[in-house]
């Protein structure tokens, strides 16, 4: 590129930009439009512009509020507390472990992560159901059986999501911990910082940005978990595990209310954006 060619500097990325706008921007724009109409999959021929009616309806709908609440519970329990903390713990423990222990643990955790979502979901359904593996184990240990898929389904799917998604956090934190310079750790030890204090005052601040990035990616992927919940509970019993994506599917494709379902999808996007902004502010995440 010559210095005078500044006007044409964007040319090489123009085709990619056009394709992105066409195939990514187009459908998203179309979805935004649909959210302001009363489009139906069946039962009505035309669709009219209805303004903010779908959004007004969502906020007045108990089922929607329930879905928002469950989405927050699911995200906080499984992504923020579960995957994130467990991932950090595993990464920390594995640093001090011998090589064989490291590779066995690592492969087990990663195996859960690379399984297709639907396979993982059926495995966990078989584990949690009333005649499932978990109850067989509990019975063998002489402990009372549980029926979480029925009594606390949101906890069951949260645990399932932790089981499935921890590997990602573990990998991020393994890399981050490996980056901490030895001399900093040694200096801290000389100053008498041990255990929890060293973690709190030295390690965590050093990997702060990784924590932020990890939280953000975990949260965004957890917010859109659908297959896992659908296969395990269908959002039931009643609507006790009906998170926003499941509610959206139910409204758009079971009840045929495409317009309303799409409006809910946009609101889900807003929830994701709010989480992201919080992380960006708190953790100064690098993008």
């Amino acid at each position: 590129m010559s210095a005078t060619g500044g006007r044409w500097r964007w040319a090489p990325i123009a085709p990619a930009t056009v394709l992105m706008l066409l195939f990514l921007g187009g459908p998203i724009g179309y979805c935004v439009w649909i959210a302001f109409t009363d489009t139906q999959l069946t039962g009505a021929a035309g669709a009219d512009f209805v303004g903010f009616e779908n959004f007004r309806r969502a906020f007045a709908d108990d089922a929607f509020r329930n879905a928002v609440w469950l989405t927050l519970v699911f995200t906080v329990v499984s992504a923020v507390l579960g995957q994130n903390t467990l991932g950090l713990l595993l990464a920390g423990l594995m640093r001090g472990a011998s090589r064989p222990v490291r590779s066995v643990t690592g492969s087990l955790v990663i195996a859960a992560w690379v399984l297709p979502e639907i396979v993982a979901a059926f495995l966990l359904y078989a584990f949690f159901r009333r005649e499932g593996t978990l109850n067989a184990l509990l019975e063998w240990l002489g402990l009372p059986a549980q029926n979480w898929l029925f009594t606390l389904p949101i906890l069951a799917v949260s645990l399932a999501n932790v089981w499935r998604g921890t590997a990602f956090s573990m990998l991020i934190y393994s890399a981050a911990l490996a980056e901490i310079p030895r001399d900093v750790v040694e200096a801290a030890e000389v100053d008498g910082a041990r255990g929890a204090r060293r973690l709190w005052y030295v390690t965590l601040p050093m990997i702060r940005r990784s924590i932020g990035t990890n939280l953000m990616l975990n949260t965004l992927s957890t917010l859109s978990v659908f297959g896992l919940i659908w296969a395990m509970t269908r959002g039931g019993p009643g609507s006790r595990s009906q998170t926003l994506p499941v509610y959206m599917y139910d409204q758009a494709l079971v009840k045929s209310l495409i317009g309303y379902g799409t409006a809910v999808a946009l609101l889900l996007l807003v929830v994701g954006a709010l989480f992201s902004v919080v992380y960006l502010r708190l953790m100064r995440v690098e993008l």
Partner: protein, 458 residues
């Protein structure tokens, strides 16, 4: 690495990328339209051992291609539960590039799809087709829309009643020729089983959202239509009924079954796979005494079925479902059925109808009713010896056609059905009383129908 603030564009891009995961997009498979190929979409059972429909269609395809050289039939099975199959079918019909030429549809969804403009009237083809006169009037009306045109050719129907296990009944001190005359007698029989035969499920009815229409029709409406005339939709007023006593009573029945533990464990009842378990596990293994279920159940146990059970004809009794207090006519049943329809955007409608004719030659129509355990919708098939002796109980379930009700064939019915499923689920889990669930249903009904409701005081 220095700490930087995030460029807003990158932030926006990240959010957009995150968003694409949550947007609703549908994609088709751009089939292209070959004028000599008829593309047929149908639902394949999610049970991999059930393939009678696939085999029957393959047989008719063979006949059709032999009789019409140069023409081809492309069978497109969609393996999914009924609700998901319907969604997929509707998405296919939305665009000319993915619309099939012929589609198999549950008649209760047909009006909704007609209103959406997905289907094509068939009157021009039906007028010149002599077989059409052999269909029973009720069947000819099954796919007739509010505009008076016909949009589908039904190929069978079904009825519903009570199946009961004679051996368990004997242990519970109940008669081998059980004929309950009211809801209370059904519940009393279940209570007797619970008392005297511990460890078995006394009574099963489908409930809640997971079984979909099976719960609403086989479970709830079998009760509701036994409480009085037009309990769901008032054809005189052309409005849906709210606040009906029958609706609350039917919910109360459901609640009683699960509160007194006369049914399966609630978590099993609400499990999406419950109907497979009833057919292949609970009934054949003698773990269930009474099942409120369909005429087609035998199909699960015959040769090459998912669960062979040679003795089912003898070991199970069949009884009609009684009305609430035994009021006239004393018996209640509901009927549905599926029909072959031509999408509005089909590229070869004539060829599609030619295939319908091939499906409905008297021999093929009879064969279908036999292999699919369907109740005949044609006079000639209904009188056919091969059909009447095809399976134990066919004559009994055919006799229920006299008492049977059809669901209100209206565009919003699928949404109403979904609301009923939610009300059932609330009383099944004990989250709500019958009155409260009925009130929540009334509110939903108002939303669905834009307030076109009439108060039911009956």
């Amino acid at each position: 690495m220095p700490v930087r603030t995030i460029p807003p564009l990158r932030l926006a891009l990240t959010l957009v990328l995150a968003a694409t995961a949550g947007t609703l997009t549908a994609c088709g498979d751009g089939s292209g339209s070959d004028p000599d190929t008829v593309k047929v979409v149908y639902n394949r059972s999610t049970d991999n051992t059930i393939r009678f429909k696939d085999e029957h269609l393959a047989e008719v395809k063979r006949q059709f291609e032999k009789a019409n050289p140069g023409k081809k039939v492309e069978l497109v099975p969609v393996q999914a539960p009924d609700n998901d199959y319907a969604t997929k079918a509707q998405q296919m019909m939305r665009s000319a590039s993915t619309a099939p030429d012929l589609i198999y549809e549950d008649t209760f969804r047909i009006n909704s799809d007609i209103k959406a403009g997905y289907l094509r009237p068939l009157d021009e083809y039906l007028t010149g087709w002599k077989e059409w006169d052999r269909f029973l009037p009720s069947a000819r009306n099954a796919a007739r829309a509010e505009d008076g045109k016909t949009y589908g050719v039904p190929d069978g129907t079904d009825t519903r009643g009570l199946w009961y296990n004679k051996a368990l009944f004997a242990r519970a001190g109940l008669p081998a020729d059980w004929r309950p005359r009211s809801w209370d007698e059904v519940l009393d029989a279940a209570r007797a089983v619970k008392r005297k035969v511990p460890g078995v499920i006394p009574f099963n009815m489908y409930t809640g959202k997971a079984p979909g229409e099976a719960a609403v029709m086989q479970g709830f409406e079998m009760l509701l239509y036994g409480t009085g005339a037009d309990p769901l939709y008032d054809p005189g007023e052309r409005k849906w009924v709210t606040g009906g006593q029958g609706f609350t009573d039917a919910l109360e029945f459901v609640r009683t079954v699960f509160r007194e533990k006369l049914g399966p464990d609630v978590s099993d009842a609400l499990d999406p796979n419950v109907n497979t378990r009833v057919a292949t596990e609970w009934l054949p293994e003698g773990k269930l005494a009474i099942a409120l279920d369909g005429s087609w159940m035998g199909q699960n146990w015959v040769n090459k079925g998912p669960r062979e059970w040679p003795g089912w004809g003898e070991e199970l009794g069949r009884a009609a479902m009684p009305t609430q207090h035994g009021q006239s006519p004393g018996t209640v049943s509901l009927s549905g059925g599926w029909a072959w329809s031509v999408p509005a955007r089909a590229s070869n409608p004539e060829l599609a109808f030619a295939f319908v004719k091939a499906l409905q030659t008297p021999a093929n129509a009879t064969r279908w009713c036999v292999v699919a355990a369907q109740i005949a919708v044609r006079e000639d098939v209904a009188a056919d010896r091969a059909y009447l002796t095809s399976m134990p109980g066919v004559d009994f379930f055919t006799s229920l056609v006299r008492y049977t009700h059809y669901r209100p064939a209206l565009p919003v019915y699928p949404q109403v059905s979904s609301a009923i499923g939610e009300a059932m689920e609330q009383v099944t889990t004990g989250d709500a009383t019958a009155e409260r669930a009925a009130r929540a249903y009334d509110e939903q009904l108002g939303t669905i129908t834009d307030g076109a409701v009439v108060s039911g005081r009956g």
